[in-house]
């Protein structure tokens, strides 16, 4: 916008807190409005003043006419009486003598201009001069009605027609003064009128100016503050998004106002998350290393042992006594067991490789496992099984563990193993049942614990880990697993698996 001005102003401006900035913006707008209102108020006073003046001026003019009219009436009355001796004229005249001063006084009180006051005084003076002249003549006339000597006096006065001209002259002068007076008043009015119009115009200009300023300041500060806040907030939102995606950047906040608190919190959180994640990653890689060591370096000697036994068997197989052969045979069993234990532990700790989820054809998996693990003479019934969206290796493990368990504990030639499923809300429920030796209810919980096995350790391979792993896999999927069984009445392993992969 206005680059330089904004820059200079903004240096002070930005040091302020946000609330102060907003307050300042509003204050400026309010002050401008007040000034505008005040200007208009002044104008209204001026208009009122003018109205008062006009009405006064009209009164003055009215009075002036009345006064003039009274004086002229007196003059007419005077002439009339002189001509007709009619006493009505005399009454009029005398009425005028009283009326004129009254009116004059009223006019004097209204008039303030010195020029006009002078005119009034002149009129007054002239009128008095005329009064002297007229009164003398009237008195003379009154007297003349009585006797002859007074009539001569009257005639004398009358003769001095010059005097009548005098009277006329006076009257003319008076008229002229009145005209001047009125003209003056009218001029005054005009001047006043023009002044008022120019005041109005000026006020309009000021009003417009203030209005414009108000709008400009209002808009500018609104936009400024809005942009300020929204860019700050937008940058915080961006950082928050970055954090949620794993990029632990921080908000750059050089001001020190209300929003800074928020940025600080965000930065602290980001730093903590970053630290925690890198610690976790470090731990994770340590664990991976551990898993590597365990799986390779622990299993290597086992392989060596197995190899040597195998070589002995290869080289000396025929020469070995049965006893020796039997002893020799024990070694691979034990080494295999150890290797299974190691693998089982790695599975349990889920340190083996992670796989990705995919659509799994459960029916096919179970069929393959059944072919692999279930003896030929068993009866196998596999009902329709739904596809699952899961990590294939986990689904396989669960079924392998349970089915091999079922096989292990079904020690009869007519063994029957059934696999079925049904929908249960958001889960599928799978049931694997056998008609084996069953499990005492006392152990229904225990069998899922790690290293719990219900058989002797050297009878058939049983590491005691299989079901624990199975339970762990199912727990991780937020499913459930339980067993329904009684001794000699077979066992049913029932577990649930979610229809949708849990996050």
């Amino acid at each position: 916008m206005f680059r330089t001005g904004e820059y200079i102003g903004s240096r002070y401006f930005t040091a302020m807190k946000l609330s102060h900035q907003i307050l300042l913006g509003f204050s400026i707008v309010i002050i401008l409005s007040l000034v505008d209102s005040y200007t208009n108020y002044l104008l209204s006073l001026k208009v009122r003043q003018n109205a008062d003046f006009i009405s006064r001026s009209e009164t003055i003019i009215r009075n002036s006419s009345q006064l003039h009219k009274s004086i002229i009436e007196m003059q007419s009355a005077f002439r009339g009486y002189l001509l007709t001796h009619d006493s009505t004229f005399l009454q009029l005249y005398e009425k005028g003598i009283v009326q004129v001063p009254t009116l004059m006084a009223v006019q004097r009180s209204l008039v303030t201009d010195s020029a006009q006051v002078n005119l009034l005084n002149n009129i007054n003076r002239l009128h008095h001069q005329w009064l002297n002249y007229s009164t003398a003549l009237i008195n003379a006339k009154k007297d003349a009605l009585g006797n002859r000597t007074s009539e001569a006096k009257y005639n004398n006065l009358f003769e001095t027609r010059l005097r009548k001209q005098v009277g006329k002259k006076l009257n003319d002068e008076i008229t002229e003064k009145f005209n001047e007076f009125d003209r003056f008043e009218y001029n005054n009015r005009q001047t006043r009128g023009k002044l008022l119009i120019s005041s109005i115009e000026q006020t309009h200009k000021f009003s417009f100016l203030f209005l414009s300023l108000t709008i400009i300041v209002g808009l500018t500060s609104t936009i400024y503050i809005f942009r300020l806040i929204s860019t700050r907030i937008a940058s915080m939102v961006k950082v928050a998004e970055k954090i949620s995606k794993g990029d632990f950047s921080i908000v750059k906040d050089t001001r020190n106002d209300e929003l800074t608190g928020l940025s600080t919190s965000l930065n602290v959180m980001s730093a903590k998350l970053s630290k925690n994640i890198s610690e976790l990653e470090k731990r994770n890689s340590e664990l991976n290393q551990f898993a590597y060591v365990v799986s390779h370096d622990l299993k290597a000697p086992l392989r060596g042992i197995y190899n040597v036994v195998h070589w002995i068997e290869e080289d000396l197989g025929n020469e070995l006594s049965p006893q020796l052969a039997k002893y020799l045979n024990i070694i691979p069993q034990r080494t295999k067991r150890m290797e299974d234990l190691i693998n089982g532990l790695l599975d349990f700790a889920r340190l083996r490789e992670r796989t990705t989820a995919e659509v799994v054809d459960t029916y096919q998996i179970v069929k393959d496992i059944a072919e692999l693990l279930i003896p030929r003479d068993f009866t196998v019934e596999i009902g329709p099984l739904p596809d699952l969206y899961a990590e294939r290796i986990k689904v396989e493990q669960v079924f392998i563990n349970i089915i091999s368990n079922a096989v292990k504990y079904t020690n009869r030639p007519d063994g029957v193993i059934r696999v079925s499923s049904r929908e249960l809300g958001e889960f599928y429920e799978f049931t694997i049942s056998d008609n084996g030796m069953g499990i005492d209810p006392e152990y229904h919980e225990k069998i899922f614990e790690i290293f719990q096995t219900l058989r002797e350790k050297n009878e058939k391979e049983s590491t005691g880990i299989g079901l624990a792993i199975t339970k762990k896999i199912i727990d991780d999927q937020h499913g459930t697993i339980r067993v329904e069984s009684e001794p000699e009445k077979g066992a049913s392993f029932i577990f649930t698996w979610p229809k949708i992969l849990p996050i």
Binding site: H296, W311, E314
Partner: protein, 151 residues
Amino acid sequence: MAQNITDMSKSKKHSILLVEDDELDVISVERSLKKLDDSYELHTAYNGKEALSMLKSGHLFPDLILLDLNMPKMNGIEFLKAIRQDEQLKNIKVFIMTTSGEMSDRSMANQLGISGYIIKPLNFNNNTKRSDSMDAFVQFHIRKIFSDTGQ
């Protein structure tokens, strides 16, 4: 020296130099080779330094070197570099034995020129309980190498 070399290559017995530190692995290779029809002369060095001195002594000129890559005291790659720089030794065929994880070593060795590789563990096949991989390796690859060279 040259005389020796010619004599050696004319003899029907192929000689193989095995460079391997693990005793069991050595035995394993020995046993597998014994199963072959042809007889091979097997020489063993337990580390790179030993192997190098054996080669430089002039008494030994193997047709094939079986080289284990991770050994103490001069590992496989260093040994390979050393022999490739030697005029007399640089053309000997080398097969390397390496664990499954060491891709970088394999590619490094590849750059130095090898005839192939085999992945350890050498011979423990859990499911079939037989010394499958080593026997197979020996019977296929080694036979092939020597039949290719015409001897």
